[in-house]
Amino acid sequence: MKYVAELKAKIREKLPELDVVIGWKQGFDPVHASPAFMTTPEEIEQLVVNPLCVQNLATYLPGLKGKKVGIVARECDTRSIGELLQESLIEREELTVFSVKCPGAVDLVKLRQQVGDLGRVRSISFDGPRVTVETPDESSSLDLGELLPGKCRVMAYDEPVLADFRFVDPDQDTVCREEADTDLVALEQMDLDERFAYWRGHLDRCIRCYACRNVCPMCVCQDQCIADTRDPHWLSAETDVRQKWMFQLIHAMHLAGRCTECGECERACPMDIPILTIRRKLNREIHELFGYTSGMDVDAVPPLLTFQPEEKSITEREW
């Protein structure tokens, strides 16, 4: 991205006022970027912004409360920041948002399905919508649009929810787009038994590593999650599907009206379980019921923390 130089300059300028600036840097191999905690000018030099920068860095913010934090954030990431502010989980004064126009994102599962084992990729480069990938065996040219994660296909963000500094390249287009939620549609086309079997099958793979939970920017219970305790004893230590399923429902319900659909839960899942679908379904229902989209308005109250004496969209059953 052309704005990266400008971005680095701005971070350098602001760094003296800040304890840390969170951004991305190159990870352990060509296809992986990794969160970077920048405290020195040298570390700023390592900053990258490209479609491999997939982590939603907002997840680190509640843990850094009390510090002056700068954060490099894409438009969708600012939605999570918005929600955190809404719930007073972070302080606006402690925060400096370096908002970057999203260059698009690569779903590594989709990339792997195209080019094979990612562990063998020698290099990857981006030129607008073209992605060029080199492996020892071949060189492939791919369309970034085809590699977008599901979350970039259901909601389009042109502008950030909030920003202190904004970085956009001239003529840069919004990559994410609003299309039908194909995962959810496919699921809803199944009959009930198939859906039950679908979840039982997928969730059976879960290893209860809780990457989905720990990567979630809205999981503010931190180390006190009820999945881990015996008081209250919501889940047993067993690893049967029932416990795993129940955990997903705990997570989804605790996120209801708060989830910003950043998709980190699903991305983090090492076992590739399509858990975002449940959260999306809830978000869709919340939108229908309360006309509410989480994180978009810093002053709004999440819908399950308030009520209307007459709920216009809830039709209660007559007996």
Partner: protein, 353 residues
């Protein structure tokens, strides 16, 4: 090694062999589920997924995520309900043989870290022993090391046979089968394969060597155990290392060598069971004390434990063997791309300064 031990299994003969084995044993083979590759019981029509390193290692076949240690039931005297007796039922694993086919050498090597803990010395674990004894590993040597592979750092290699019963070496459009143990030999016999030809053997060796060469060179790690020990109190260092860690258990639960566990009782009414489940030192509750004291309240301290255990405390207890097989799963499955190699090298360099 006796030359006549080497057999050749053509690619198309593999599934026949697996089918044959599955008549007498449970055969776990890598299969795709979602986008993950898991070890699942072979059934008719199962498709083997051998091209990728399986997402999870075969650890759970010997060390299941939930092991029922015993069942119990309170029996009440109907005349005197305040008197009850406790009946305990043993739940040792059966003696049926399980074959793991298609794991990587690093996956099988993982158990060499388990053995000193569960299978040797004063305290023997009958559950582990029973499963270990009755499980046969047929490992597939690696053809193309990945960016995350570092088995050569910890004494392994693409065709390492430690922990395996049979090694499958790709060659000539099939596999040269190299039995490592007697159990392995019996398994190979079931296939009724031809002996491997010298050309096939040569090709297999050549490919294994090539693969080894493709690994990045292993650094000298001899001083690491001591240096990590020295860094124990240096929380600044660990905070820096752990900054991006989110304390999930993906690294631990996918690790072929992590063996920490927890024991709990689960009840329903008058009956219950005592279970042993995987534990995870990244979790806040790991060795959380009943008093409320937490020995590792921060993620930095927990990450220190994970790296320290693998590269310092374990080798100091067990003949300088690292509790790591270099499979790289902790790196590639980490949502935040935390790289254990980087931490080990940083520790080494930090100490150097």
């Amino acid at each position: 090694m006796v030359m006549g031990d080497l057999k050749f299994c053509p690619k198309e003969g593999l599934s026949r062999w697996v089918e044959e084995l599955s008549r007498e044993h449970t055969v776990l083979v890598p299969q795709q589920a979602g986008d993950a590759v898991e070890f699942l019981p072979f059934a008719e029509g199962s498709e083997l997924s051998l091209d990728r390193q399986p997402t999870a290692p075969p650890k759970k076949s010997v060390f299941p995520q939930t092991e029922t240690l015993m069942r119990f039931e309170y029996q009440k005297d109907p005349e005197h309900p305040d008197r009850q007796t406790l009946q305990i039922k043993e739940t040792l694993p059966g003696k049926e043989k399980t074959v793991i086919l298609g794991c990587r050498p690093c996956g099988a090597r993982g158990f060499s870290v388990f053995d000193p803990v569960f299978g040797q010395g004063e305290y023997l674990d009958p559950y582990y022993q029973a499963r270990r004894e009755h499980t046969v590993f047929v490992s597939l040597a690696c053809r193309h090391p990945e960016n995350t592979c570092f088995c050569n750092w910890v004494g392994g290699g693409p065709a390492d046979s430690a922990g395996s019963d049979v090694l499958m070496l790709p060659a000539g459009g099939g596999y040269v089968l190299r039995p490592v143990t007697d159990q392995g030999r019996q398994i190979v016999e079931v296939g009724g394969f031809e002996d491997a030809s010298p050309e096939q053997q040569t090709e297999a060796d050549r490919l294994a060597e090539e693969a080894a060469e493709n690994l990045s060179p292993a650094p000298e790690l001899e001083e690491v155990p001591d240096k990590l020990f020295e860094l124990f109190e240096n929380l600044d260092f660990w905070e820096l290392m752990a900054a991006k860690c989110i304390s999930c258990g993906a690294c631990t639960y996918l690790c072929p060598t992590c063996y920490c566990f927890n024991i709990s009782d689960e009840y329903s009414g008058l009956q219950g069971k005592r279970i042993r489940t995987w534990d995870n030192c990244m979790s806040n509750l790991f060795t959380h004390e009943a008093s409320g004291h937490n020995p590792r309240p921060t993620k930095a301290q927990r990450l220190r434990n994970r790296v320290g255990h693998k590269f310092s405390y374990y080798p100091k207890l067990h003949e300088q063997v690292f509790a790591c097989c270099g499979c790289g799963r902790c790196i590639k499955s980490c949502p935040m791309s935390v790289d254990i190699r980087e931490i080990v090298l940083s520790a080494k360099e930090y100490a150097d300064e």
